[in-house]
């Protein structure tokens, strides 16, 4: 790999052992992917901050880097953690978990992270420019920024994002290179009735596309120009879990897909598939692990809810009462939580027995298993449903928003 003088000096320890270790890690990644050089990153977003995901090893490693003189060199925000620092008691969590999360956060603060605490960093100040490169953990956000903004980043683990932020560079491989960003398979959605589709349906559709295409970048056609950001978020966020897709072209909508030809790089597609309502239904069935009995917790917020979604949930809960044995969490950013309070939505949701929580991942870094009595979680997200059983050790029901709210009111899944 060709390095600049500054990168060489970093690798030789000229700026201390922290930057040296970080550069060594990036060199390793570059070697594995046969990268020719390093390129600058403009922003970073850290996934491993959640103490349920990163753990003590992450804290130890980052402390070593910090003590070795490392600091974040570019705008670096952090992802959702595992507890709302103000509502942890209401969530049924222990003080120890809160302390663990705070202790973990300390090292990120020292290194210079911005505490956004959400998987929607691009709505809250972490927005790389089109054509520039970024490094991000949290595959939903990375896929959104790749697809909707046209900034360039790969699916990667937390350590390499930390290293990129410390060195301000990342090896040039994968989706950083324009030639790897062209679509491979045309996905025709013109057979679907978009007007009748719920957010859950968009999520089910995204999971199906991910599962079918595995790692081939889709070029989606037949989507109305009026598709909303909420719908797009639900469509693309399950693709990295159904498969390993981190970039999605929607012709006429996303910036690198003004036409089918340009999205494909003027090459022939490897395949063309069309999706029907039945395919979409298969995601609901595949991801749901239980159909019987009690629902202990209903979760919204994978990815974190926008203010529009919170409004919808509040209107569905207005005047209703959630079952006394069931919890309902609406996961969002601190900013939208504040706004929801100002706009009165928080009051409606709390009156019904639910909580609007900020700074909390509702999957895969969710603390469901740490809340007494939670064995079954219902969620309106395919991405969430994919992670929850393995990461949290509880049963999951994947259903649309309205059905989830119905389950919260009845305390059980409909017969």
């Amino acid at each position: 790999m060709k390095l600049t003088d500054h990168e060489k000096k970093t690798l030789d320890g000229g700026f201390g052992t922290g930057p040296q270790d970080a550069m060594q890690l990036l060199m390793t990644l570059g070697t594995v992917y046969d990268a020719e050089r390093m390129i600058p990153v403009t922003t970073c977003h850290l996934g491993g901050r959640n103490v349920l995901l990163g753990g003590q090893e992450n804290i130890d490693w980052m402390t070593d880097l910090y003590e070795g003189g490392a600091r974040f060199q570019v705008f670096t925000s952090w992802n959702a953690g595992c507890c709302d620092f103000n509502l942890w008691k209401e969530m049924g969590l222990s003080e120890k978990l809160v302390e663990d999360q705070k202790r973990s956060d300390e090292i990120y603060v020292k290194l210079g992270a911005v505490p956004l605490g959400t998987c929607l960093p691009y709505y809250h100040g972490n927005l790389p420019m089109p054509g520039t490169s970024f490094a991000a953990g949290g595959s939903a956000g990375a896929t959104f920024v790749n697809s909707m903004i046209g900034a360039r980043g790969n699916r990667e683990g937390s350590p390499s994002v930390v290293a990129a932020s410390i060195c301000g560079v990342t090896p040039e491989y994968g989706l950083h290179l324009k030639e790897n960003r062209y679509g491979k398979v045309i996905v025709d959605l013109s057979g679907l009735d978009f007007a009748a589709m719920t957010l859950g349906d968009f999520s089910a559709l995204g999971f199906y596309i991910g599962r079918t295409l595995v790692d081939k970048t889709p070029v989606i056609v037949g989507v109305p120009r009026q598709i909303t950001q909420d719908q797009i978020r639900f469509l693309i966020s399950p693709m990295p879990t159904g498969g390993a897709i981190s970039l999605v072209h929607i012709v006429g909508v996303t910036p690198e897909a003004p036409s089918v030809e340009e999205a494909l790089g003027h090459k022939k597609p490897e395949d063309t598939i069309s999706v029907s309502r039945k395919d979409l239904q298969s995601s609901y069935e595949k991801l749901t692990t239980t159909r019987g009995g009690k629902v202990d917790l209903v979760a919204f917020g994978c990815p974190h809810c926008s203010i529009g979604q919170i409004q919808q949930i509040a209107s569905l809960l207005d005047g209703k009462k959630i079952h006394s044995d069931t919890r309902l969490w609406v996961g969002t950013s601190r900013h939208y939580q504040t706004m929801a309070r100002e706009m009165g939505y928080a009051k409606v949701i709390e009156k019904a027995g639910g909580l609007i929580i900020a700074d909390v991942c509702v999957a895969p870094g969710a603390p469901f298993h740490l809340v007494k009595g939670v064995r079954t979680v219902a969620i309106n997200s395919a991405r969430g449903a994919y992670f929850i059983p393995g990461a949290c050790g509880v049963e999951v029901i994947f259903a649309d928003t309205k059905e989830c709210i119905e389950a919260a009111i009845n305390g059980k899944w409909r017969a």
């Binding site: 990163g54 130890d60 490693w61």
Partner: protein, 140 residues
């Protein structure tokens, strides 16, 4: 008998020790106990065997992108392998070896899974990408 192989440097440094070899992929997260240094993946051909201070030879890694932390933890607790030889490295094992500062090479000029057997003495020079194998004496 000594055999020398040339490969690609992934992580520098030199180490030697007894080889432990598998043709199956390895996930450190969930597949290896970082306290004991043993493989714990159910049904894995190395299940129950220690990899601590050994030259660990396997095709490549698999599993979660959180795997590197486990390798780092093992290096801190001195339960890690002394060196890693992969057929073709992927980022999870490579990043873990970088974090734990474990010498690592891949893409050797002959398949290490054919030439190295568990129990052979193996020297890994990560700086030059060179592997030197001393075959164990055949017993009986």
């Amino acid at each position: 008998m000594k055999i020398s192989l040339q490969g690609r440097k992934i992580i520098g440094g030199q180490a030697e020790g007894e080889a432990i070899v598998t043709r199956q992929l390895i996930s450190f997260l969930g597949g290896v106990d970082p306290d004991k240094g043993t493989v714990v993946e159910r049904g894995h051909e190395l299940e129950g065997q220690s990899i601590t201070n050994k030259v660990f030879v396997f095709p490549q890694g698999k599993g979660s992108t959180s795997g590197p932390y486990v390798i780092y933890k093992m290096a801190k607790r001195k339960t890690a392998p002394s060196a890693i030889i992969n057929v073709n490295a992927e980022p999870i094992i490579a990043v873990g070896a970088a974090m734990g500062k474990i010498p690592m090479v891949d893409r050797l000029d002959q398949n290490p899974l054919d030439l190295i057997e568990t129990g052979d003495h193996v020297k890994v020079d990560g700086n030059r990408g060179v592997v030197e194998i001393t075959k164990k004496k055949k017993s009986g």
